[in-house]
């Protein structure tokens, strides 16, 4: 009903898609998946009958053709076994499901990162953003001020006890977002209105101030452990405001208040509260240029990723998202890599000046604050991150939500599956490519029957083509005069030595 025109789907949408155990392909609909399995994996290669399951095919092969089924056709090498009974999404072993989810996640993040890299990094932020951003970062006094504040905050944090501030505030601050998120996402069609309702209250003027604060104070909060998201967000608001105006801000008032008490300085807590919004902020603005989000995304992705994973587990949003999801989105980023971002070229070009200084400055600051953050920045600063590194890039963020190392560990496993899939698809492509010329060449050679039939219907023409193709044949042995045995006999190794003959006779 509502427009879902974004080229890249939510992570939940991707995770919710039914996928095929045998080839890891995903589908819009369970029905399509089942049809796919019947056609690709459970089809008898002798008689073309489509069975429902591997077991069924095995029985069929045994009874009808007296054959044993040893492997599932068209399956990934490690999935070709008959031991698991698969029907649609049923019967997939739990560990494989986990693996698949991990893989999807990594792909998603990777795609996100690439999108960011392709759209944002080369020229981050729109000119206006930069105008706002740049002077602030460039002024040494600001930097110093921030540094001082950061140090003060760090000290304060240490005094407060890192864990307590880090743990308590987020719980307060995030409890709400967490609660809000699932519901909003389930109701994603109605989401935009929801936002709008919040949009009015915060006027850009009132909150333009906070954002400026955020940028400077953001650092102090890194130590507590939630530093990363805030800083990212702190930067992003300025660029965001011009393009979006309303969206980012609605959340500021919302979340700004609860966290405040937990921190000594009122403006600072907001970052914590904002950590969720960036993630939420993405979905509602599908058509907005990526660039504006870019700085934000750098962090929102991190924050959003774990959150997304956590929220994905409830599975409630799945059915809803299936509908809205379009098939192509998922495949593109993971296979073709950086080149797969169709939106990038169409975007307005932005001055490349702004981003680097920002990043560098922040990088420096982050460096003092938290290593994790620095890591993120390093990754972000590389325009085209390598697939695996980029996926790892998010791991640092994961701990926030409590998905600690498992991500990084499984990332490698997932990437290996990726390899399998990509190689399989490549092979398929190669096969297809090989077939095409073959198919093309014989046609001319076969004598084209005089066009006796007048304009046949389309299907008739197709059938005719088929017949013609069927006539194209290739003899494995085509020498019509000399038999294979004679040729073999002429081979040196079978040569008969007459000398032996004389000896014997």
């Amino acid at each position: 009903m509502t427009k879902k025109k974004r080229g890249h789907p939510d992570i939940e949408e991707i995770l919710a898609r039914p996928w095929c155990y045998y080839c890891e392909r995903d589908f819009d609909d369970l029905k399509i998946l089942i049809n796919h399995q019947k056609a690709k994996h459970f089809k008898c290669d002798r008689c073309g009958r489509r069975l429902n399951t591997a077991g069924g095919l095995n029985v069929h092969m045994n009874q009808v053709h007296k054959e044993n089924l040893t492997a599932i056709e068209n399956a990934l090498p490690n999935r070709a076994g008959l031991d698991v009974e698969i029907f649609g999404m049923e019967g997939i072993p739990e560990d494989i499901v986990q693996q698949h989810n991990q893989r999807v996640l990594t792909n998603y993040h990777q795609g996100e990162a690439e999108r960011r890299a392709a759209t944002g990094n080369p020229a981050s932020g729109i000119a206006s953003n930069n105008a706002v951003k740049k002077p602030k970062f460039e002024s040494p006094s600001d930097l110093k001020k921030r540094l001082a504040e950061h140090k003060a905050a760090k000290l304060a944090a240490e005094q407060n006890g890192e864990g307590s501030s880090g743990a308590s505030t987020p719980i307060v601050g995030q409890a709400q977002p967490a609660a809000v998120q699932p519901s909003t996402q389930v109701a994603s069609p109605t989401y935009p209105p929801y936002q709008q309702s919040y949009a009015p209250p915060p006027s850009s003027t009132t909150f333009s101030a906070p954002t400026t604060y955020n940028q400077q104070p953001a650092l102090p909060y890194q130590p507590p452990g939630y530093g990363t998201p805030p800083t990212g967000y702190a930067q992003s608001p300025p660029p965001q405001q011009p393009p979006y105006g309303q969206p980012p801000q609605p959340y500021q008032p919302l979340y700004a208040q609860p966290p405040q008490p937990s921190f000594q300085q009122p403006p600072y807590p907001t970052p914590n509260a904002f950590s969720p919004p960036p993630y939420q902020g993405q979905p509602p603005f599908p058509n907005q240029p990526y660039q504006s989000q870019v700085p934000q995304n750098g962090y929102s992705g991190q924050v959003g990723a774990p959150r997304a994973y956590a929220s994905a587990s409830p599975a409630s949003p799945f059915p809803h998202q299936q509908r809205t999801h379009s098939p192509a989105q998922n495949g593109l980023p993971q296979r073709s890599g950086s080149g797969s971002l169709p939106t990038a070229p169409g975007l307005p070009q932005r001055p490349a000046v702004s981003a680097p200084p920002v990043n560098a400055a922040q990088f420096q600051q982050m460096h003092q604050g938290q290593i994790l953050v620095q890591h993120n920045f390093a990754a972000q600063s590389q325009p085209q991150p390598h697939p695996i590194p980029s996926s790892n890039e998010y791991n640092p963020a994961a701990p926030y939500v409590g998905m600690p190392r498992s991500l990084s560990n499984e990332a490698t496993a997932a990437s290996s599956i990726d390899d399998l899939i990509s190689s399989a698809s490549k092979q398929a492509d190669a096969n297809a490519a090989a077939n095409v010329p073959k198919a093309a060449t014989p046609k001319p050679t076969t004598p084209v029957p005089p066009a006796a039939k007048d304009e046949p219907a389309d299907d008739k023409a197709a059938k005719k083509d088929k017949d013609k193709a069927a006539k194209a044949t290739r003899l494995v042995y085509s020498d019509n005069e000399i038999s294979p045995e004679e040729k073999m006999a002429a081979m040196p190794k079978y040569a008969f030595m007459p000398s032996q003959k004389t000896v014997q006779v």
């Binding site: 014989p442 494995v476 019509n480 005069e481 045995e485 004679e486």
Partner: protein, 349 residues
């Protein structure tokens, strides 16, 4: 599958022929191989196949068949010799020597004749009974013979240039006796029938129906023709040919030669074995395929049914294909398949 197993000691090189003993209750079979040996195997009841003996030749053995009993084997060798092997003593006698490699041998127990065909375009007819008053007779053929098959009364010789001769064995035996002392034992005999193969490509194999009514021939172009001996127009109208042993690859059909044909001695159905490694069972009368077996590791080289029709032996070897200097790598094996009661039986209508 459990009812199919491999012979444990297969020949070390490509197999050229496999032939079961035609005698009742015998489960012996002889195998001719390019490794210069002829092998004699026996299948025992408990699914064991043992190598009884093997006989060395000077050159690759291209064909082999049993003689008057399981103790007598004839072989066709690339060294131009036709040999008789006494199994008990392992002694070999050279019956005759052609001017080129000998492609096939066939023995008629009804007439005690051994007929060999060689690439010098000749047939040699050997008397095998000790009291024969004549020695080997030679028939000159118009082309190189590629395959030989014998029914109780007929001899079918398939040659290059799509030529095909059908001889009556009784006439041959008679003529041989009459011209026993003719010059050089040349036999100038007109075949009972001269035919042109109904297939457009080189004939690969031919086998006669056990009921003596006709024969089936196959070509290198994945096609099999079934024809009847009876020259009457009604019978000739019954002949037909069909395509088989083809595999679509993309939009091109890859066509494999049909290397072997074997009629079932009881049911009258026949098996074809192709270069694609597939064995198919056909009903010649109903023009139906009864069964197709899973693709084997390499090209089917030869096939044979036991006399009681309960076992099918299939020899596989790497095929000699177009554009290959050398023979393709591939496994050489002999597969013994115990046939179920109705496995190759013609289906009731």
């Amino acid at each position: 599958m459990s009812n199919q197993y491999e012979v444990s000691e297969p020949p070390t090189d490509a197999i050229s022929a496999i032939r079961f003993s035609p005698y009742a209750d015998s489960h012996k079979f002889v195998v001719a191989s390019w490794d210069k040996f002829a092998y004699l195997y026996e299948i025992s009841d408990n699914k064991q196949c043992t190598l009884l003996n093997r006989f060395e030749h000077r050159a690759p053995v291209l064909d082999a068949c049993f003689g008057k009993d399981d103790n007598e084997i004839f072989t066709a060798c690339l060294d131009c010799d036709v040999r008789r092997i006494d199994v008990a003593t392992s002694t070999q006698d050279v019956l005759s020597t052609h001017d080129a490699g000998v492609r096939s041998v066939a023995y008629s127990k009804e007439h005690s004749l051994l007929i060999s065909a060689a690439w010098d375009s000749t047939l040699h007819i050997h008397p095998t009974s000790a009291d024969a008053e004549w020695s080997t007779a030679t028939i000159t053929l118009p082309s190189k013979p590629f395959s030989l098959s014998m029914s109780p009364s007929k001899l079918v010789v398939a040659m290059s240039n799509r030529a095909l001769h059908i001889y009556e064995l009784s006439t041959l035996a008679e003529e041989c006796k009459n011209t026993a002392n003719a010059l050089q034992n040349r036999l100038d005999i007109e075949p009972w029938q001269r035919r042109e193969s109904s297939l457009k490509f080189m004939t690969r194999a031919v086998d006669c129906m056990p009921n003596d009514e006709g024969y089936a021939s196959s070509s290198i172009e994945g096609r099999v023709a079934v024809e009847w001996f009876d020259p009457s127009t009604e019978s000739q109208a019954r002949k037909y040919a069909f395509k088989c042993h083809r595999q679509p690859e993309g939009e091109v059909d890859v066509v494999y030669p049909v290397n072997a044909i074997a009629f079932h001695p009881i049911h009258g159905t026949f098996a074809t074995g192709g270069g694609d490694g597939v064995v198919a069972i056909w009903d010649a009368i109903a023009k139906r395929r009864i069964r197709i077996y899973p693709k084997l590791a390499s090209s089917i080289a030869a096939m044979s049914f036991t006399s009681n029709g309960k076992i099918l032996a299939t020899a596989i070897s790497p095929g000699f294909e177009d554009g290959k200097e050398d023979m393709a790598e591939g496994s050489v094996a002999i597969l013994i398949r115990e046939l179920g009661e109705n496995e190759v039986k013609r289906k009731a209508k």
